[in-house]
């Protein structure tokens, strides 16, 4: 899996590409923690190019959210593909995450 990093409207956008499984989730977790440790309190994770997610990957989203929320931060997810959406649905993530249809919407919700 590749992680693309960009800054738009003053916010960090992490774009995931490929498979987010037990193997790649470790890298993703490290990246997210590094971002949070670096002082980012509000950022977007763009899933438009993420084909696949397993529970190991889901874990990272939970970790990130748990770290940010108490400090008043927020992570917004956007552009979920159908297979990813299905898994998110199964585990009830739609009720605990801020998930939007597009990157622009996600950025707007932060601004």
């Amino acid at each position: 899996m590749d992680i693309h990093e960009e800054r738009k409207d003053g916010f960090l956008v992490l774009g995931l590409e490929g498979r987010l499984d037990a193997v790649s989730s470790k890298m993703f977790e490290e990246k997210v923690l590094a971002v949070i440790d670096g002082g980012e309190t509000q950022f977007v994770i763009d899933l438009s190019r993420l084909d696949y997610v397993s529970s190991a990957g889901l874990r990272v989203f939970l970790v990130a959210s748990k770290r940010l929320t108490p400090a008043g931060g927020k992570v917004v997810l956007c552009s979920l593909q159908e297979p990813v959406k299905q898994v998110f649905d199964i585990v009830g993530f739609f009720s605990i995450f801020s998930i939007l249809g597009s990157k622009d919407e996600a950025l707007k919700s932060l601004g």
Binding site: A22, L62, K66, T69, P83, I90, G92, S95, I96
Partner: protein, 651 residues
């Protein structure tokens, strides 16, 4: 022509001829006789008159009447002399032979002829005395009328009776000649008509004769040409020549017919041989329910240049093809046989359709002195996935009949085989969905003409195939052939009609004989490899994307768990995954030799929990439970065996 009518005609001719001759000769001879007799009577009368006159001169001058009377009486004895009368110089009748008196007519005549006779010559007059008859009166003056006159009457009735008797004799003779002529004509006509009758009888018998057999013996007219050298003989000769020529011609006809029958029978055998070269048993693979295939080949003549073929390259790949050799009849059939044989040989060496066509083309180009060529469409179907890879060598593009849509396949641009070795054949791919069909055909189908020369045409075929969507392969082929035949009506078939239909029937998740065992190491990187294997499996068995995805996610979760938590050591372990399909149900067994762990015992997480209180882990098993219909766990031989069952949805 019969003898009776021939003789009747001859008889009529003879009667007419004899009638003319008889009347002609009678008139002529009667007239001649009359003239001669009259002359004879005249001279006789003149002689008598002279004799009387000479002997009466003296007597008249002496008025010796009685002597004159005796002289006169002498002459009346002479045949033909009717009367004699002597007048004196005063015109008084001196003596006469009339009884009792001289008729007035005679006296009257005497008065008229007195002046006439002065010249001394005899005066001859016709005299008709009423009640007595017709006479030739010869008056002669005696001494130039001085002494008197003598009249001699010659009886004309005697002339008439002599003429009649002469004519009667002549007629009797003529009648005898007539009878003899009729007899001669009868004999002659008989002689002529007898051979004619024989010829007629012979000709009548000819009609019932068997000319295919040699003549049974000498015929009844063989002697005629020698016997008669006339027209009848010539006719008989013509008859004999004609009969010989007839026998000869019938014999030749019989030989020609026999030769034709022999060729026809050989052609029929050739047709049987040709037909046995294309597979004709349908269904061809009864134990392969994944597809339905039917084909037909109807040659325009006894043998044709079309062919079709299909066979398994391996357990999962069916090769099928259709071809059309240029031309028709025996040359095309021979070339077809060569092509079909080379095709099989080639397909046993290479298995891609483009390679088959390339190799086949090379073979066909060699020793192709007759410059014949063949168009071939060749395709290979992967039975497991419905994927068809095809290559075209100048042939009519088959139609894809797919869920209400009918269209020709995309061309691959190859040229007919046998022209040149420098042709590259390319392939295209399509994937048949369940129920999709391919209709392969030769131009004999679309170019079949009706009596006005209108072709059946591709739009008509496409329309028929569109309507036939949902029919079996057999129904499609038979329907198409019926359509073509209906179109043609009474017009003779102009080209071979060949068609092949393949319908793909494999439905998702059908039982497979395939046994797959995947062995994985206890390393997280193996999960991605497993995902690829799962994708491939899903494609081959036509599982829909959702099913494939669910299985992949579930396997990921299970495998991640095992690899991450099942082993207490750092050794390499093998995890076995066994997918199988049975009646629309996918079963995947995962077997590991890690520590005992029953995922079914893991409590359900509360997915309604707020973020703050939700545990980070424990979602994997939940995801598996949600995605998989049935989960079973057992511990067996120190191994964890987790069985996942999932109802398959069709692609």
């Amino acid at each position: 022509m019969t003898r009776a009518s021939l003789f009747t005609k001859t008889l009529v001719l003879i009667v007419v001829l004899f009638g003319i001759i008889a009347s002609g000769t009678s008139i002529l001879s009667g007239w001649n006789l009359y003239r001669n007799l009259t002359q004879e009577y005249q001279s006789k009368g003149v002689a008598i008159a002279k004799s009387i006159a000479d002997s009466s001169v003296e007597l008249l001058l002496n008025a010796d009447v009685s002597t004159i009377q005796s002289v006169v009486d002498q002459f009346t004895e002479i045949e033909g002399v009717s009367y004699v009368i002597v007048f004196d110089g005063q015109g008084e009748a001196v003596t006469h032979t009339f009884v009792p008196t001289v008729p007035g007519d005679v006296l009257e005549l005497q008065r008229r002829t007195r002046t006439q006779a002065v010249s001394g010559a005899a005066a001859i007059n016709d005299l008709s005395i009423e009640g007595t008859g017709d006479f030739l009166d010869v008056a002669l003056p005696i001494l130039a009328g001085v002494a008197g006159y003598v009249h001699v009457g010659m009886d004309r009735s005697l002339i008439r009776s002599r003429i009649w008797s002469a004519v009667a004799t002549q007629q009797e003779l003529m009648f005898v000649i007539f009878l003899l002529s009729v007899l001669a004509a009868y004999t002659l006509v008989n002689r002529i008509s007898q051979p004619l009758k024989q010829l007629a009888g012979h000709a009548g018998k000819l009609a019932t004769q068997d000319f295919s057999e040699p003549a049974t013996g000498p015929s009844d007219i063989d002697h005629l040409p020698q016997k008669s050298h006339d027209e009848v003989g010539k006719l008989a000769e013509s008859f004999i020549t004609m009969e010989i020529a007839l026998r000869q011609s019938v014999r030749e006809l019989k030989e020609t017919t026999a030769a034709k029958e022999r060729i026809e029978s050989e052609l029929k055998i050739a047709r049987d041989i040709q037909m046995s070269m294309v597979p004709k048993t349908f269904p061809p693979f009864p134990n392969r329910p994944e597809f339905d295939l039917y084909a037909t080949l109807i040659p325009a003549r006894e043998v044709g240049g079309d062919f079709y073929d299909f066979f398994f390259i391996d357990d999962n790949h069916l090769c099928f093809a259709i071809g059309d050799v240029s031309g028709k009849g025996i040359p095309a059939a021979l070339f077809m046989a060569v092509t079909r044989t080379l095709f099989r040989t080639t397909a046993s060496k290479v298995s891609r359709p483009d390679s088959i066509l390339s190799l086949l083309n090379l073979e066909m180009c060699q020793n192709n002195d007759t410059c014949m060529f063949v168009t071939v469409f060749c395709a290979v179907l992967d039975i497991r996935t419905g994927e068809v890879e095809y290559s075209n060598g100048g042939h009519n593009l088959p139609y894809l009949i797919s869920h209400g849509e009918t269209a020709p396949l995309k061309n691959t641009g190859g040229m007919a085989l046998g022209f040149t070795e420098s042709v590259t054949y390319r392939t295209e791919k399509i994937v048949l969905r369940t129920g999709d069909g391919l209709f392969l055909y030769t131009d004999g189908v679309t170019e079949a003409m009706d009596e006005e020369g209108n072709q059946f045409s591709e739009p008509c075929l496409a329309e028929f195939l569109h309507q036939a969507n949902g029919s079996s392969a057999t129904e499609i082929i038979r329907g198409a052939v019926d359509q073509v035949k209906n179109h043609s009506g009474g017009a003779p078939q102009s080209d071979d009609i060949t068609a092949l239909t393949l319908k793909y029937l494999l439905t998702a998740g059908e039982t497979t004989s395939e046994t797959i065992v995947v062995e994985l190491k206890n390393n997280l990187s193996e999960i991605e490899r497993l995902a690829r294997i799962a994708d491939d499996f899903g494609r081959r068995h036509r599982l829909n994307a959702e099913t494939s995805h669910n299985v992949k996610v579930a396997l990921d979760e299970i495998l991640t768990n095992i690899i991450s938590y099942a082993y207490d050591d750092a050794e390499e372990h093998i995890i076995v995954v066994r997918p199988s399909l049975d009646q629309g149900k996918l079963t995947v067994e995962v077997e590991d030799d890690g520590r005992p762990f029953n995922p079914l015992n893991v409590p359900e997480p509360d997915t309604k929990q707020l973020l703050e209180v939700r545990p980070i882990g424990g979602l994997g098993i939940h995801v598996v439970r949600k995605l998989i219909d049935e989960l079973e766990y057992r511990r067996q031989n120190d191994k964890n065996i987790l069985t996942m069952k999932l109802k398959v949805k069709e692609a």
